[in-house]
Structure formats: structure tokens, C-alpha cells
Symmetry: C2
């Protein structure tokens, strides 16, 4: 820790730390310096080691695995990103993997298995203890982005008839083996989840009280099929540290902890931002050229089609343009401003949907308000644009046309900027996906059509 250095931001210090761990680890691995490696692992957080390992060669990783205890190796692998996990797992034989799995939580094991070829996955599951086999097979059955897919089966549950002192005794027994012990899940005789007791409440309660007496019985839970984004919203709304996952009969299946929820929130936010920008969520700054092309080209091709749509509107008015060539220079202004105004509305609405502020009905007033905003912004920008055009071209009619077209296009932008994401959402599509392409197409087509259409109607005035 070098927290005490002055004038260094958290960010810079983190960057320094990550670089130092990386340099020291890679160099110690290269020198095959066992002592140095063990010391560094002891002093560093697993996630910084996982980051550093991204730069290590395969043989370095194998060397590390031979000198590190399985538990520490497991901790590092748990923190690695998917890509590195896949790479590391390819280097180990099945027995080594099983030994490492023994030190991992079930949700992490399932994540890793999910990224493996099916036959290797099956072989691995067969090598596990039979009790684990069942748990793992169940977990593998849930969709990757559902509550079941991100839950862990490590939690503490107790019968509601237990007294506080019995429960405390049991907690002390279980604590060394279980990470999440701040909340006890209380089950009735049918093994249904009926309440929760926090460790704090347990410590405060009287020894002879039963869990039934002191438990909070208004438990917020989800079913395993629930979408992870909805689960994240629940955890965020109710400030939970963990949320239980139960089946339809309220049988306890697992819990999702808040650190996994933070990952979900970051993942969903990344997805929204990338989709708004017309990129698939799988891309990051270190994607290869081929990956990037594969992920971006489809959107660009769709865009090309829509660009030709806008272009064909312009073609309709080639006669008019050939008579007043100044139209060619002015027309992108109306279209472009429409696109930007639409994107503004879109950003607010997509975010509103993500935060749960926008529902599917009762939006009439919001749309009306948005169109009014479009009118005012269109008026202001239209007057300025019109004035500049009149001053440059000495043509009053052209200025008036740009004013009217700007107002119309910004009102249309407000309308489609709201409707497109809400309609996508209503149809159970992701509201962020490609919304901006639909909207800019719409505002381009409308912008060109209104502007050039008006120009054609009032051509005599333009030619004066």
C-alpha cells in the first residue's frame, strides 16, 4: 500500500500497483525464482495477480501452478477474466483442475465449466464427488444471465426452531468454511425459506429466543429464472448485501452476493452503452481486428442500407438541387441537428428504462413534454440557422424554409427518440440495441424530405 504518497490520485496509485505487481511477477517467473514468487503472492491481492498473469507465458503459468498451493491458485483463477480462465484451464490436466475446484465456490466453477468444450466439461463433472456432481449439473442448467446462473450454493441455512445460542454455536462451526455468514437463512420444517436473521441480530438477541422469534419474515427473494438485470435492480433498490434464490415452492436454492451484483451492473451498463453505439457487447478495447470487424460490420451494413434510404430521398429532389445548389450545403444541417436531438432524447429514455423510471404505459405527458422541448429547441436553432443562411445567401425564403424544417425535424426527433426504445422494450427487445441507427435514419429521411420538399414547393421564391 502506498496510500500515503501525496498528490496521487487513487487511479494513479492503482495503476502503479498493478504495474509493479505485473513487472515483479513476470520477472520472478522468468527467473524461476520460487522464493520471490511466493513472497509476491503472499503480499498481493489475487485480482492484481490475475491481472499480471495476463502478460505471462503459458510456461510461466504452469510453473506458477506447480509451486503455488492449489488454494492460492484457485483464488487467482477465480479473479481472472473469462479469457484467461480458459487459457489457464487448457494448461492443466483434469486431476489438477479438480484439485483446484475444491477451493472454489460453486458459481465460479460453473462459470469456468461453461466456457469449456462440452466433452471436457462432462469428464470433469464425472470426476467430482457425487454430491457436488448434482449441484454442478443443476447450476449448469440455468441460463448464464439468470439468477440461477450467477448464484452460489454456499450460504448458511438453519431451522426456525433453533434457539439463538444453538444458532451461534452452529455459526462458529460453519464460519471457517463459508464466506457469506452475515445473514442466516431460516427454513421451516418443509425446508421453505421463511425468514432471515443477520449475524448482528443474532448477537443482540437473548439466548433462549428462537430464530422464529427474531427473524425478519418479509424476505425479498427471486426465482432462478429471473433476469440478472432485474435481480440487480432489486438488490440496488432495497440495499441488500445478498439475495436468496428460491424455487416455486420457496425451497432455498442459493444466494447471490452483492459483489456479483456489482459485476452484473457493470456488465449491463457496458452492454447498454455499446449497443447504443452500435457495437455488440462482446467487444472490448483488446478485441482482435477480426473480432472487431465481425462485431461492428453488421451494424455498419445495416447503417449503409439506411444511409441509402436517406440518400434516395435526396435523389428525389435532384432537379431542385440542380437549380438551387445552396440547398446541398444547407440540407445536412437540418438532418444532422435532428439526429443529435433524437440521440439526446434516446440517451435519457434508455437510461430511464434501465433505472426502472420509465414503464410501458402512462407516458403521454412525457411525450408531449418532449415534443414541446423539440419545438423550442427547433425554434431557437432554426432562427439562428435561418439568420446565418439568409446572411450568407441573401435569400430570405431559404432562411424561412430552414427554420420550418428545423422545428419539424426536432419535434419528430423528440417523438421517435422516445417511442423507439419504449416500443423495443414493449416487444421484449433490448431498448438500447441499435436505437440510435433507427433514430438517425428517421431524422435523416425526415430532415431531407421536409427541407427539400419545402424547397421544391417554394422554388420560385428561392430563385428570385
Amino acid at each position: 500500500m502506498d496510500e500515503q504518497k501525496e498528490n496521487h490520485s487513487v487511479e494513479e496509485k492503482q495503476e502503479e500497483l498493478e504495474e509493479r505487481v505485473e513487472n515483479e511477477l513476470i520477472s520472478a517467473l522468468n527467473r524461476k525464482d520460487k522464493e520471490a514468487v511466493l513472497k509476491l503472492v503472499e503480499d498481493s491481492h489475487p485480482i492484481d495477480l490475475a491481472y499480471a498473469l495476463e502478460e505471462a507465458s503459458d510456461s510461466d503459468i504452469v510453473f506458477l501452478a506447480t509451486i503455488l498451493p492449489d488454494q492460492q491458485m484457485a483464488e487467482i483463477i477465480e479473479q481472472a477474466d473469462d479469457e484467461l480462465q480458459v487459457r489457464i484451464m487448457k494448461l492443466f490436466d483434469l486431476n489438477k483442475i479438480i484439485r483446484i475446484f475444491q477451493h472454489m465456490s460453486k458459481d465460479d466453477i460453473v462459470d469456468i465449466l461453461g466456457d469449456m468444450p462440452a466433452n471436457r466439461r462432462k469428464e470433469l463433472v464425472k470426476l467430482m464427488k457425487s454430491s457436488d456432481q448434482e449441484v454442478i449439473r443443476n447450476l449448469l442448467g440455468y441460463g448464464e444471465s439468470t439468477a440461477g446462473g450467477i448464484m452460489t450454493t454456499e450460504y448458511i441455512s438453519m431451522r426456525s426452531s433453533l434457539t439463538v445460542s444453538q444458532a451461534l454455536e452452529k455459526v462458529k462451526e460453519i464460519a471457517p468454511k463459508t464466506e457469506e455468514i452475515n445473514i442466516l437463512y431460516v427454513l421451516n420444517e418443509k425446508k421453505q425459506l421463511v425468514g432471515t436473521v443477520s449475524l448482528r441480530e443474532l448477537l443482540v438477541a437473548k439466548n433462549y429466543d428462537t430464530l422464529q422469534d427474531i427473524m425478519e419474515d418479509n424476505v425479498i427473494s427471486v426465482e432462478p429464472e429471473a433476469d440478472q438485470e432485474d435481480v440487480a435492480r432489486l438488490v440496488s433498490k432495497y440495499d441488500l448485501h445478498a439475495i436468496p434464490v428460491v424455487n416455486k415452492r420457496k425451497g432455498m436454492l442459493g444466494i447471490i452476493t452483492v459483489d456479483d451484483i456489482i459485476d452484473v451492473i457493470e456488465e449491463e451498463n457496458t452492454e447498454d452503452m455499446l449497443k447504443m453505439g452500435g457495437v455488440s457487447k462482446e467487444e472490448d478495447v483488446d478485441s482482435t481486428v477480426l473480432e472487431s470487424v465481425k462485431l461492428r460490420l453488421p451494424w455498419l451494413l445495416i447503417n449503409l442500407v439506411t444511409a441509402f434510404l436517406a440518400s434516395s430521398v435526396v435523389s428525389l429532389f435532384e432537379d431542385t438541387i440542380s437549380q438551387v445548389v445552396a440547398l446541398a450545403a444547407a440540407m445536412p444541417i437540418v438532418a444532422g441537428m435532428g439526429g443529435n436531438a433524437g440521440t439526446q432524447t434516446l440517451a435519457v429514455v434508455v437510461r430511464g428504462i434501465a433505472l426502472g423510471d420509465i414503464k410501458l404505459h402512462g407516458n403521454g405527458l412525457r411525450i408531449l413534454r418532449g415534443i414541446t422541448v423539440g419545438f423550442i429547441n427547433g425554434l431557437v436553432n432554426g432562427i439562428i440557422a435561418g439568420a446565418v443562411i439568409v446572411w450568407m445567401n441573401h435569400n430570405l425564403a431559404l432562411g424561412l424554409i430552414i427554420l420550418v424544417a428545423m422545428i419539424c425535424n426536432l419535434m419528430i426527433a423528440a417523438l421517435v427518440g422516445f417511442l423507439v426504445p419504449v416500443v423495443l422494450k414493449a416487444m421484449n427487445y433490448d431498448p438500447a440495441v441499435a436505437s440510435s441507427i433507427f433514430i438517425t435514419t428517421f431524422t435523416d429521411v425526415c430532415g431531407f424530405f421536409i427541407f427539400l420538399g419545402l424547397a421544391k414547393m417554394f422554388l420560385p421564391y428561392l430563385l428570385q
Copy 2:
């Protein structure tokens, strides 16, 4: 809880729940039905009550405050959004507010005070206990989006010389009064933070061990001036449930809990998405027309200037366009595709910066890779666009020009899409802010210039 209904998504159930609480609360308050209100408050989560209260009249809120115990009123106010908090606080006299504050955590009190007029704030602070006055004044001194601004002073700290049994005794004493007791902060004789002990470790340890013996001494902490976004990244990276805030001499000032960190992450993500779309972060779906206009108009005006810039490039080539009017229809294709490709790169890069994946140096390879992606996407889209143009206009030269212009513009888009946010970041500006306006301006100007410039150069071939 209606978790057991089938075929209902988490989202729908939440919507139903919120609506039900709202309807019941408003109707009970209207009827002045004390019994019904108390029952509903008992059965509902404070945040659902806070949501419902947004629809209540001022006199309803006053009625609620007279029948509810101050503690329950405090819980609801803590969960309300800023706007509602301001509204509620205006309805109460100073003494009532002080009584409610006694049931709130310090960070929430400071948030509420921060939204009050300065003189009312001063009067309130004067009415507090003198020990509280100092804490509150200190907290008010920190910037709103710094670690100090979001930390709370409710945490448990203990001397490192305490034994486990002494510590447990003390925890039991403090637990009823303190919310966050899962982690004990261990201080040395100089009151410096030297380690942490989780409640779990405390329960597992031997009674005669001292905290010094069992504590984790590699504590991740931040100083109060740290940016909340950086703090959130630390908590997310290291999977923390709380992070301590210390001064330069390692003196313990407070802690930030994970639920507040989730709020920070959501807030920062909203900010990024809105800024990318050219809207100030203060806007949400329920902003008034005037607010929206005020927040959006400045960006649209900047955009208008840049639109004229692009338009003036077109003006330079009016002669050429008047001879080959098909250029007017084709030119938005090149410009628009550049804008979209630039936005794709921008989304990936802004997100990469937000997640800490992109640092300020060592990006040469990424830029090169990006330009290569731009070349390939330009080639594919250029060939298709060119072929369509040739087929429509029977003009081979025009098709070739659009191919070359497309390739150039998409390579430029990749370059500026990467550089603009990184340079903004290096200059300590927010990389998301208005990046998309810079980039679309750049790609519009370049797109028009390259396309029309080539057309002018090869005009004889176009006229054949």
C-alpha cells in the same frame, strides 16, 4: 410478497407492488385512516413508501409525519430522492427535523443539509448536540462526489490490543446502535487504522487471541478527497463490502458501504451515457420542459456551429455539385458512415476508460488495430456502396470515388474515435462529454471534403 405468482417477471411484480403501495397509501392518507396507514407502513419497505410519497400532497405528508414515530419517518426520508427530501423538509419545523435526524445516519443528514438553503442549514446545525455539530460540519466540508462526501461515520473501531472475547463483548454492546458491524476497524495506540477483522474471523478465533494477532493488515483505504468513481472502482475490483476513509496520517474518518457504492456506479453510468448523448447529467425523464431545454440547448447550439462547419465544406464544392448533382445524394452516405464508425469506437473506448481498461499510455497497438478495423470495414462498405452507386448512376468513376472516400473516412473515424476521449481524459476532462459531437463533426468535415475533393479532381471522368 407475491413471489409465488407464476409467469410474472420480477419487473412486473415490482411494478405491481409499487403501484399497490402507492394506491393504498394515498387513499389511506386521503381518508385520514390512521390504522390503515400504520399497517401499511409496518408491512412495506421504506423505499416503496418513499416512492409512493412522491404522489402525496403536502398536507398528506404532514399528516403522515404526525401519526408516524420519528424513526419510521426517518427511514422513509432516507430512501426518498433529493427532490422529495427537499419537499418534505420544507414542511417541517426545525425541532421536528432535529428529532428525525436523531434516527438517521450522518451521511444521509449531510446529504439533506446540502440541499437546504444555507441559513436554514446553519440554524439546524446549531440545534444539534455539540459532538454531532463537529462531525456534521466536517462532513459538509467535503465535495459531494468525493469519498468524504459519501462516507458515514457509523462504524466500529477497536484497539488492536483487545482480546477476541473482549472484542465480542463490545460488539454485542454496540450492535443494536450500529448498522455496519460485519467489519471491525482495528486502530493502534495512535488511533491509526492498522487492520480489519471480520465478524466471521472474530467468531472463529480463539478467545485469548488479540485483534492484532488475527487482523488482516493489508487494508485498502482511501482519503476523503478521492473521487467517488475511483472509490467505486476499488470496491468493485476488490469485492469489498465497505471501504474505510482515512486522513493522511491514517486516522480513521469513516467508511463507505457497498450500497452507497452501487448508487455511485449507477450515477456515474447515467452520467456517461447522457454525456455521450449530449445531455447534462441532471436530466431525467421527469425533468420539466424548461429544465430540458436549458440542459440540451447548449449542446445543440455547439452542434449547430459544427454543422455549419461541415456545411461550409460542402459550399466549397457547389460548382462541382452543380455539374454532377448526383454527388448531393451520395455525399451524406460517406459522412454518415464515418459518424457511425466513429461512434462505435467511441463507445468501446469511453467504456474502456470507465472500467479502467484503458490507460493514458501504451495505446499505439490499439490505435493501429482500430485503424486496420476501419480499413476493412471501409473496404467492405465502400465496395457495396460503390457497386450500388455504379448500378444506379452508370458511372464507374463515382463508384470508385465513394470506395476511396469511405475507406479514408472510416480510418479517420477509428483514429479520432480513439484519440478524442483519451485526450480529453489526459487533460482531466470527462472523456464522455460531448465526444460524439467532436467525432461526428470531424467525420462529417472529412467525409464531405474527401468525397467532394476527389469528385472535383476527377470531374472529367464523372461527366463522361
